[in-house]
């Protein structure tokens, strides 16, 4: 342990992620949280591609990849096979997907697995677009972000919709849900470990900056994640037994412009659009704070 973080490296270095990749950093921490008695079912996406160029692999735990939309369904099969082999109690089961593989194409399989109550922790590495295939817009892409399929044109300025509220949707399934950020390793590790202890399916969404996708320098991924937290763009919270708790509050709140202005994908925003983002962020935060305060059960 160094600084209370295990020194085991279950996700080996030498993979092909971009320098400064937020997802690669996050995966390393998740694996430290889970430990070596873990099986991973991975969706197609950057992570699967950069970590397993045959005949090389970065995985020091058993790992399986099926397809883009199947992290949760493949993991469902693994779960029941472990039950059959009477090994279920001894092993942690993780399913990994990108935001595209989770919010969009893999949503049905994830919802089904949650409904069936498979014992697994689904971790979504949210970098806000289909990065592996060259930055296409997903249900997790923030409003106004320029992607290759939501370009910043003269008439339409990037994506026209806000991000899907995926954590609350998963919470409505009755799961343990947590949001985490690669900028806060201890919080991330704590939440993954808590998720793994929960009954049934648990869902952890990890904010993972993408260097080329966001248009930031490779030394800015942690800084960007910190700014997202301070501007309340990515609130850190958990939902346990249907009750929301905001786990971390920024000590000094910043306007969203501090976050937006440092990324190429938001370079084209007008003041009116920045204000629109600010007002959405404020509303979403109020909604969460209200849920926390009133202890209204989501499920």
């Amino acid at each position: 342990m160094i600084n209370n973080i295990p020194t085991d490296e279950l996700f080996a270095s030498g993979h092909r992620a971009c320098a400064g990749c937020g997802q690669a950093l996050a995966v390393r921490l998740v694996m430290k949280a889970a430990g070596k008695n873990t099986i991973v079912a991975n969706a197609t996406g950057c992570l699967e591609v950069f970590s397993t160029p045959y005949p090389e692999t970065s995985w020091r735990v058993p790992w399986i990849h099926g397809a883009f939309e199947t992290a949760a369904s493949v993991a469902s099969g693994v779960d029941k096979a472990l039950v059959k082999q009477k090994k279920r109690k001894k092993v942690n089961l993780l399913a990994f997907g990108g935001d595209g593989g989770t919010f969009d194409i893999g949503f049905q399989a994830l919802s089904g697995a949650a409904e069936r109550g498979h014992k697994l922790t689904y971790v979504c590495f949210d970098n806000g677009a289909y990065m592996n295939t060259g930055i296409q817009r997903s249900g997790a892409t923030p409003k106004y972000a320029a992607t290759t399929t939501s370009p910043a044109g003269k008439k339409i300025h990037g994506k026209t919709e806000f991000k899907k509220p995926m954590p609350l949707i998963m919470a409505a399934h009755g799961c343990y849900v947590a949001t985490a950020s690669v900028a806060f390793p201890h919080d991330l590790i704590k939440k993954v470990q808590k998720a793994l202890k929960h009954k049934g399916l648990s869902y952890v969404q990890v904010f993972s900056p993408c260097i080329p996708g966001w248009g930031i320098p490779s030394n800015m991924s942690i800084e960007s994640a910190k700014l997202a937290f301070k501007t309340k763009i990515t609130p850190l919270f958990e939902v346990e037994n249907g009750i929301v708790t905001i786990t971390n509050r920024p000590s000094k709140e910043l306007p969203v412009e501090e976050y937006l202005s440092r990324q190429k994908r938001f370079k084209h925003l007008s003041q009116k659009e920045i204000d629109d983002v600010q007002s959405h962020v404020d509303t979403e935060w109020e909604k969460l704070a209200h849920l926390e305060e009133t202890k209204v059960r989501i499920s």
């Binding site: 070596k36 008695n37 873990t38 099986i39 079912a41 699967e48 591609v49 397993t52 160029p53 045959y54 005949p55 692999t57 995985w59 020091r60 735990v61 058993p62 790992w63 399986i64 990849h65 099926g66 397809a67 939309e69 199947t70 949760a72 369904s73 493949v74 993991a75 469902s76 099969g77 693994v78 779960d79 029941k80 096979a81 472990l82 039950v83 059959k84 082999q85 092993v91 049905q108 399989a109 919802s111 089904g112 409904e115 069936r116």
Partner: protein, 376 residues
């Protein structure tokens, strides 16, 4: 039909993935009965879609247990993507397909459009004629799939409704006997065990991808012998068999003309062959059981002395011809003088009558070849 009974599924069969779909419904319903009554020791997964059914099979089989699922038509089409993943990962999954037409127009009745459209997915495909053959072939399928020289998934294709919804007596072998025929499943390469971590399903770049496809093709070729052996060993143990496991000739001794077909239609064809034999006509039936691998050499041998063949397809590759017809033509190209006539029949549950079959044989008896004749 009781395709999969408590006793024919070996005792270490483990994960069943089910999704209720009208035509394969009976199969998964009976399995659920067996599991819930404690007769079959298995874990069931009630998936939300066929895509997830195949994905869950992949996950479970890759963890190191035996799996089974069943589907039909739209369900098979939905899981199409995952069929290639299962075979590419060399997972010996067994699946029953209750053959059915594909939409549109939506139609729930039998033809072979669904599984024939999946012929290039790297699955062994065995077509059966009766309920008994379906049951016996499921048992054989595990033997073939799990053979360490093969490691390929197997589809047992049985005609929707004609076989999937018929009740007829079936001899169910005892569990003890099945266990002797089918040893306990021991994964060769596919397991997810933290004590021995391996990576399954990595990226194959152009330098490796083609090599993997070639290995699958080599395994497909080897499976010809494995299917024959599974059939002959089955005969020794259970005193039943189906031709050589690949093709089943019926009254081909001295035949000059023959019908070529797959599935339950062969029952009706046998009846017509019997009648025509009584009339002194030298006709027979060449039932194709294995569509993948396609038993080219066996067919060449069986057709060697024939003057004419009538190939009846229960599907059509739109823009080309019946798939079985195309395969037979290719198998026999440059092989003597056998004339080959092709017929499209029974699409979307359209009855194929003895008259249709007689007509196809009589056409084959004429000196001219015909193509794509619709028996409607």
């Amino acid at each position: 039909m009781q395709t999969v009974s408590s006793r024919d599924v070996p005792n270490n069969t483990t994960v069943e993935i089910r999704l209720t779909f009208s035509v394969d419904t009976h199969i998964v319903e009976r399995i659920a009965d067996f599991v819930n009554d404690g007769i079959l020791d298995a874990e069931l997964i009630d998936v939300e879609s066929e895509h997830s059914a195949m994905s869950a099979c992949i996950g479970a089989q890759a963890t190191g247990v035996r799996t089974f699922t069943a589907t039909a038509s739209q369900g098979l089409a939905l899981m199409h993507e995952m069929l290639f993943v299962a075979s590419g990962m060399r997972l010996p999954i067994v699946m029953a397909v209750a053959n059915r037409a594909l939409s549109a127009p939506i139609n729930i009745w039998n033809d072979h459009s669904d599984s024939v459209a999946a012929r290039d997915s790297g699955w062994i495909q065995l077509y059966v004629e009766s309920s008994q053959e379906a049951l016996d072939t499921v048992i054989q399928a595990y033997r073939i799939a799990e053979n360490k020289d093969i490691l390929m998934p197997v589809m047992v294709c049985l005609d929707g409704f004609t076989l999937s919804h018929v009740w007829e007596p079936v001899d169910i072998p005892t569990k003890a006997k099945v266990n002797q025929y089918l040893p306990k499943y021991k994964p060769v390469h596919a397991f997810l065990d933290p004590r021995k971590p391996i990576t399954q399903g990595p990226v194959g770049f152009p330098d490796s991808y083609m090599g993997f496809k070639r290995m699958q093709q080599e395994a497909m070729k080897r499976s010809i012998k494995a299917i024959e052996k599974a059939n002959s060993d089955f005969r020794k143990k259970f005193r039943r068999s189906y031709g050589n496991g690949l093709i089943e000739p019926y009254k081909m001794q001295g035949a000059q003309y023959a019908v070529v077909a797959m599935g339950s239609l062969c029952g009706t064809i046998k009846h017509v062959v019997d009648e025509m034999r009584k009339e002194g006509k030298k006709v027979g039936l060449l039932k194709i059981k294995a569509f993948r691998p396609f038993p080219t050499e066996h067919i060449q041998k069986a057709a060697k002395n024939l003057k004419g063949l009538a190939v009846i397809d229960k599907e059509i590759s739109l823009g080309s011809d019946g798939a079985l017809f195309t395969e037979i033509r290719s198998a026999l190209s440059g092989q003597g003088k056998t004339r080959i006539s092709g017929f499209i029949a029974g699409l979307g549950g359209k009855d194929v009558t003895p008259d249709h079959i007689r007509k196809s044989i009589e056409t084959a008896m004429k000196s001219k070849e015909t193509k794509e004749e619709w028996l409607q």
